[in-house]
């Protein structure tokens, strides 16, 4: 596993050499007396997709929220492109967040805006010099990429859960991020819609060559879209590796998880 020490002084140069884009080191997080994360360390390089698996309530979503700075860790560090995000001012954190796309578990589309306005939201706020027509073209292109070009004028409440996730994905890609964080992209979807989302994530991953973390409890989905898998239990990483390594593992929890997946 890559460690923080491997990150060189110049992040871009370092990443060319294989240094991690996302580096999480000894992360601890508690809510009251409940220790959700208990010393998590992970690293993801450019072009790589890491699937974080585990039972419900093991802190998978909390891990993503810590990486994007929506929660603050009790201890440990999160580094994005070599830059620690702890203690950053909101503006500095904003600059880092512009390089990150986040798909929420329930898509979290703005319910008072249309599909088109949802996808245009990041562009309206961060690409103020971009001409209106160019923004509109970009939104159409993003929606076309996720197969939602016909739903421009629809409200989020008028489209299905799977479609909402597609729109959420288009919104996450609006600023051309080099990091993509996906929280349960296939949860609550029927098998066909889930497979479509998996194919879509895989296609986007191949086209945009991002560093991605996918949180899921769907082993099939994880196998399809990830290069590596990390299995969490009680706030710790039990095992990290490719699917074959998980299959060969003698750890009881890993065997049990694979048996029931």
């Amino acid at each position: 596993m890559d460690t923080i020490e491997q990150i060189a002084t110049d992040p871009a140069e370092a990443e060319q050499g294989g240094a991690p884009v996302i580096a999480v080191e000894d992360l601890h997080k508690s809510f009251g007396s409940q220790h959700v994360l208990d010393g998590i360390s992970l690293a993801v390089k450019r072009g790589e997709t890491l699937a974080v698996l585990g039972r419900s309530g093991t802190g998978k979503s909390v891990l993503l929220r810590l990486i994007i700075g929506l929660e603050t860790p009790d201890s440990g560090s999160v580094r994005i492109h070599g830059q620690a995000i702890a203690g950053l001012a909101l503006d500095q954190l904003g600059e880092i967040r512009k390089k990150m796309g986040f798909l929420f578990q329930h898509a979290a589309l703005y319910d008072s805006l249309t599909v088109e306005q949802n996808v245009a939201f990041p562009l309206q706020h961060h690409k103020k010099n971009m001409p209106k027509s160019e923004k509109a073209d970009r939104v159409r292109q993003l929606l076309a990429e996720v197969g939602m070009e016909d739903a421009l004028a629809k409200m989020p409440s008028d489209i299905s859960g799977g479609m909402q996730k597609r729109v959420g994905l288009a919104r996450a890609l609006a600023l051309e991020p080099d990091i993509l964080l996906l929280d349960e992209p296939t949860a609550g979807l029927d098998p066909i819609s889930a497979a479509e989302i998996d194919d879509l994530v895989l296609k986007l991953q191949q086209e945009h060559h991002m560093a991605s973390i996918v949180v899921t409890h769907d082993l099939h989905s994880a196998k399809t879209i990830a290069n590596r898998l990390a299995l969490l239990n009680r706030g710790k990483v039990v095992i990290e590796g490719d699917f074959e390594e998980l299959q060969k593992s003698d750890i009881e929890f890993v065997k049990e998880f694979l048996k029931h997946s």
């Binding site: 929506l70 909101l90 904003g94 990150m100 329930h106 979290a108 703005y110 939201f121 961060h126």
Partner: protein, 193 residues
């Protein structure tokens, strides 16, 4: 109601002719501003509290933050500013409605033209009677906006949390509007005697 009650009291003390002035003064000094403040607390406070709470529990506010946009600037600052600007204007509308209703009540008992009623009512009034009480409602707007946004954006716990945020927005903003009114009336009396 004020007109009917005041009429009865003033008639008993032989000061019936002061009724228009009593209505005008009570409406522009206190009734108009405080009723506007309380109505806006109930309607707008609950609306802002519930809307932001709903956005919070559905992770829409997190999504704004994840998009590198400051949700406090985008959602709270704009609503607070709107409350500050709109309260004095709504107070003017409430004052006008109060005065017209006062005249109608007076007219039903003893025919008097609106012109005569207004002339008699405003005969002893100046800008100090009108401007400070009207503009004090900007402070009510600040209080309503701040409390409703705060209650909405710190919500937790799904639909029940949304309900709690709406209720606490109304209760707290109404309470603080009344408390602020006491302080502001004292200050107005001190600085605009």
């Amino acid at each position: 109601m004020l007109s009917l009650e005041a009429r009865y009291s003033l008639t008993r003390f032989g000061a019936k002719s002061l009724l228009p002035a009593a209505i005008v003064f009570s409406v522009i000094h206190e009734t108009g501003p405080i009723i506007t403040g309380l109505v806006v607390s109930g309607r707008v406070g609950a609306g802002i509290g519930a809307e932001l709470a709903s956005m919070k529990v559905t992770e829409q506010i997190d999504a704004i933050e994840a998009s590198a946009v400051n949700p406090y600037r985008l959602l709270a600052a704009t609503r607070i500013l709107a409350c500050i600007l709109m309260l004095p204007l709504l107070t003017l509308a409430a004052d006008c409605c109060g005065l017209v209703m006062g005249w109608i009540t007076q007219f039903m008992v003893e025919p008097v033209s609106l012109h005569q009623f207004i002339n008699a009512g405003f005969s002893g009034a100046d800008f100090n009677d009108f401007l400070p009480p009207t503009f004090k409602t900007a402070v009510f707007g600040l209080i309503i906006g701040l409390i409703a946004c705060f209650q909405g954006m710190r919500t937790q716990g799904g639909a029940a949390g949304v309900g709690r945020a709406a209720t606490s927005s109304v209760v707290l903003s109404s309470l603080f509007v009344i408390l602020a009114d006491v302080v502001l009336v004292k200050l107005i009396i001190l600085f605009f005697p």
